[in-house]
């Protein structure tokens, strides 16, 4: 078997609160293979977002290990310093959240060039060309020079996805990315994700409380009270984007 892209070993996360210790994740072990579109489903408070924050190293774990293999390197996410982690994350993982968080005073294309400007890896013209290409990928290229206020919520989420891809990460993590969208629009966003997996070779981990979406993932895991409730529901062949 190929080396998994992500290996999570005996991961636990406990929050200390005034009311006492709260175990958000309890001894999670799992792997994610390259090219998976993995859904992490569960009720509110089950630990889904915490798990994402452990995978991308945004939050600190209490015990266990998260290993990520990219570019021929095996990285222990929580073994890095904050600086190293931020740099690694910027190259390796794009993030998409429920609220799109586009800067309202910048056009769509500027919103996407911003992370490229910040990373300093692209020259201005290169950055713009790449941003336009990413907007094309999420099919809203014609709005490139508009401000976010003038496009719909679903379109804004597409821009946020394009922004997450700005520095060409191998992995996308998405936390309830369709949570504030209607079902038709949400479906289109799923198509975008499916396409990124099947045609662009990305690996996507998506958190959702909507159990009805399970069929759209190549595999899904259910979290209950910080534990993996059921064994993985393997689905042999990755699903193709519905629109194509």
């Amino acid at each position: 078997m190929d080396t998994p892209l992500i290996e999570i070993k005996n991961l636990s996360k406990t929050y200390s609160t005034a009311a006492g210790d709260f175990p958000a994740l309890k001894n999670i072990s799992m792997t994610v293979a390259k090219g998976e579109f993995l859904g992490v489903v569960g009720k509110s408070g089950a630990g889904k977002s915490t798990l994402l924050n452990m995978i991308n190293g945004v939050d600190e774990l209490t015990s266990g290990e998260v290993l990520v293999h990219t570019d021929g390197q095996r990285v222990s996410v929580h073994g890095m310093s904050e600086d190293e982690k931020a740099q690694w994350r910027g190259r390796t993982m794009g993030v998409v959240y429920q609220s799109f968080q586009l800067l309202p005073m910048l056009t769509l294309v500027e919103n996407i060039t911003l992370p490229m400007d910040l990373s300093g890896d692209f020259k201005p013209r290169q950055a713009r060309e790449r941003a336009i290409e990413l907007l094309r990928l999420v099919e809203i290229e014609e709005h490139a020079d508009k401000l976010p206020a003038f496009i719909s919520g679903g379109q804004q989420q597409r821009v946020a996805i394009a922004r997450a891809l700005a520095n060409d990460p191998d992995i996308l993590v998405a936390d309830e990315p369709t949570g504030s969208l209607d079902s038709v629009t949400a479906d289109h966003i799923f198509d975008v994700f499916s396409h990124l997996v099947s045609d662009r070779g990305k690996t996507i981990i998506m958190v959702t409380h909507d159990m009805g979406l399970k069929s759209r993932f190549t595999r899904s895991l259910t979290l209950v009270d910080g534990e993996l409730a059921v064994k993985t529901e393997a689905d042999d062949k990755p699903k193709r984007s519905r629109t194509k």
Partner: protein, 398 residues
Amino acid sequence: MTKPTHKKAPHLSSGKARTPHKAAPRRVHDAVPDAIIEMRGIIKRFSNAAGEFTVLKGVDLIINRGEFVSIVGKSGSGKSTLLNMITGIDHPSDGQVIVNHNDIYTGVSESARSKWRGKNLGIVFQFFQLLPMLTLLENVMLPMDYVDMYDFDERPQRAMELLKLVGLEQFANKLPVLVSTGQQQLAAIARAMACDPPLLIADEPTGNLDTRSADTIIQLFEHFVEQGKTVVMVTHDPSLTSRTHRNIILSDGELIDETISRSLPQLRHRHMLEFTKIAERRTYQPHETILSQDQRVDNFFMIRKGEVEVVLQKARSKETILSRLGADQFFGDIELLRGGKSIANVRAGNDEVEVLMLPRADFVRVMEESPITAEAVGKIVQKRLEEHRMADPRKTRR
């Protein structure tokens, strides 16, 4: 992609010339001296498949430096559009917007406006709009990078000071996802103040927050106002409007006269707007009679400026001053609601008085449709009649 340490982004600037021949915002010579925002005849039309409709129908508005102003209105009344005219997110179809004495639209390119805005306006949005991949500190530094303000090495320190001001210094190196929504909004406010703008514009800044976080945000705004900043906030929360100096109400794309909304605050917005349109403004010189005792009263009066004296004329030219009424108080109510002639003289005080007058028929009709306002006015009527009786016990008419 990004380092948590401050990294220079050399081409992160708004200076992309989209329309290079246009100039930066120009100073307006006849701008109102104390005004930080002046809107002159602002019209905004939108077209969609259903046709063209007008969202702002000729808005004239002055907001003075140092004011804390709330803007309210029902959904669709045009309040966010109005803010968008000030921030430049959208453009008026007609009219002039003067911010900080500069005409921000006439002959101004997008990029020049963007640059100008970065130094003059701080903007806060309902959903914070923090970049998820940057720490709070980096988010706060972003505008300084954008308009290239402050020395490069000074920026982290200034950002940290702002985070300290909003009580977030211990979270400076955290990503937005790890702090609460209230804290995200505080960081967004710190970012809005990054370039020390004189004016802070906030669109439903507490709309997504619990009451305690909302209170913290308003306290912070009050602090900025104490420091001489101007804060303009769109909100739908009535508990916040009581904390501002001024509350501007938009109804169906038009501004409601503030004397009317302050005099009769419980009236429905559509009635306020109707009154705004029919009210007649009149000025009286010091001591000039406005109503004479026993004169038939045909108007409801709201005081816009100055003070009036309500005087009871007794025999042999003796008079008793029953009360003095100031701005946003009204008179004529007793006579209109109970029918009849004026029970006292009403005259201007020592200064010029400006009133708004509503015709009797319109006032009575609206009162009949507005039980809450009618009850509030009724209570004042009772109180005034009581005072009148005590001052003049011989008279028991009506």
